[in-house]
């Protein structure tokens, strides 16, 4: 190159070509300072450590997590010499580094999205009790996906499951998941639920689920969402934006479909309860018939008793009218006309006497 004479522009272009060849993608960890957003599109900041500082540039679209001065971050990008002769790093991705910075960034984004109402309980939609078609966004190679499918298959059947295979960790994971959400939401026939799942991992592994654009895509989904990421104790912004949050992928399967064994038990219990119910109704009816018959018998007995009483009374009256009874009380029965000189017959209890009428007087 000693004898080659370059223009300034060629020199800058050659330098950039060399830099791009040497550092196609360099990762740098440092502290952010002089962070600013220009014209709502461009992001400028400096990345520094104890001894050095480098200018950084990126688009606002690429800024997926909140950043502020003093925050420790890891950036991925390409070094570049600008046409104004300034050296800077063109940043593709930036993420907080270290527990403190990750937590701080998480809290800042949570507060921002919460203020916008993305996590409001009134936005939450309920999932269908028994869905017939669902879409799953996950990596088909991930253990969490396999757990989810196994439990869904064990618990339920007849479900049409469309799976969007995406990366669930790493730099490109958020964009892949966002594209999958967009693709599913643009289909002519929509699934009833979109399930986003990923198994456990480190905070860094799960950081894709705290991506602002992904959280917005979940919140904006036309289809109700169920998100099950990590373990029970892991909480991501994707969880918060979902209509239903599952603690784990396995829990997502449990929340999504009922257990067929529970339904079978319930169906059996329902039908098994019917025969005893019919038996009880028959017993009640038989009891009512017994009661009615019992009451009828009592009525019949009462009537018989009444008739017997009346019969006894009448027999008593009748016996008083019997001439024998009258004779027994000392009276006599006289037959014949009371005419002087005629014979009449006098009957008592023990005798019948014939006598002649001597005298007849009027009383």
């Amino acid at each position: 190159m000693e004898n080659v004479l370059l223009s300034v522009s060629d020199f800058v272009a050659l330098t950039n070509q060399t830099l791009e060849y040497a550092y196609p993608n360099v990762g740098i960890e440092g502290e952010v300072s002089e962070f600013k957003v220009s014209q709502g599109k461009w992001v400028y900041f400096k990345l520094k450590d104890d001894e050095s500082v480098v200018d950084c540039f990126m688009t606002l679209w690429q800024l997926r997590v909140p950043i502020e001065d003093g925050m420790k971050v890891i950036v991925q990008g390409t070094p570049k010499l600008t046409k104004w002769g300034r050296f800077s790093l063109t940043v593709r991705t930036i993420k907080p580094s270290g527990e403190g910075a990750i937590k701080k960034s998480f809290e800042m984004l949570r507060e921002k999205l919460d203020k916008e109402g993305l996590f409001n309980p009134e936005r939450k939609r309920t999932l269908p009790r028994i869905p017939q078609s669902i879409a799953v966004i996950s990596s088909t190679e991930a253990a969490g996906y396999k757990d989810f499918i196994k439990i869904v298959n064990d618990r339920w059947g007849g479900l049409a499951i469309s799976v969007a295979h995406v990366q669930v960790q790493g730099e490109s994971a958020p964009d892949q998941m966002i594209r999958a959400f967009k693709y599913i939401n643009e289909q002519e026939v929509l699934p009833e639920v979109i399930v986003l799942i990923r198994g456990g991992g480190s905070a860094d592994d799960l950081s894709a689920f705290n991506d602002e654009q992904l959280v917005r895509a979940i919140a904006a989904s036309r289809v109700p969402t169920l998100v099950g990421v990590g373990h029970e104790q892991d909480e991501s912004l994707a969880d918060m934006a979902a209509d239903v949050r599952a603690a784990t992928p396995s829990n997502a399967a449990q929340l999504l479909v009922p257990d067929r064994q529970d339904i079978i038990r319930s169906v059996r219990a329902q039908t098994n309860s019917l025969l005893p119910l019919i038996g009880r109704v028959i017993e009640q009816a038989a009891g009512q018939v017994d009661d009615i018959l019992g009451r009828a018998l009592v009525r019949i007995d009462d009537r018989i008793g009444l008739l017997q009483d009346r019969l006894r009374n009448q027999r008593s009256v009748l016996s008083q009218l019997n001439p024998e009874t009258v004779l027994a009380r000392g009276y006599a029965l006289i037959r014949g006309a009371p005419t002087i000189g005629k014979l009449i017959e006098i009957e008592t209890t023990n005798t019948i006497v014939e006598v002649e009428v001597k005298d007849v007087r009027q009383k």
Partner: protein, 68 residues
């Protein structure tokens, strides 16, 4: 008896209605056995459906690693 083309949900709704009739005011002992037989047959059908249903899993051919 339920139509074969009914979804599982429809069959379960039908079973619930059949069972509810036994607790309702329209209950009549003369009809109870026929209704019980219908409920029992429907329960067997639901159980058979539940045991035999398989999920249809389709991994989308669409790639999401870049804007298409």
């Amino acid at each position: 008896m339920s139509d074969k083309s009914n979804t599982l949900q429809e069959k379960m709704d039908e079973l619930t209605q059949l069972v509810a009739w036994f607790d309702g005011e329209d209950f009549a002992l003369e009809e109870a056995i026929d209704r019980f037989k219908a409920a029992e047959a429907l329960a067997v059908e639901i159980e058979k459906d539940l045991s035999s249903f398989k999920n249809d899993i389709n991994v989308l051919k669409q790639k999401f690693d870049s804007e298409s």
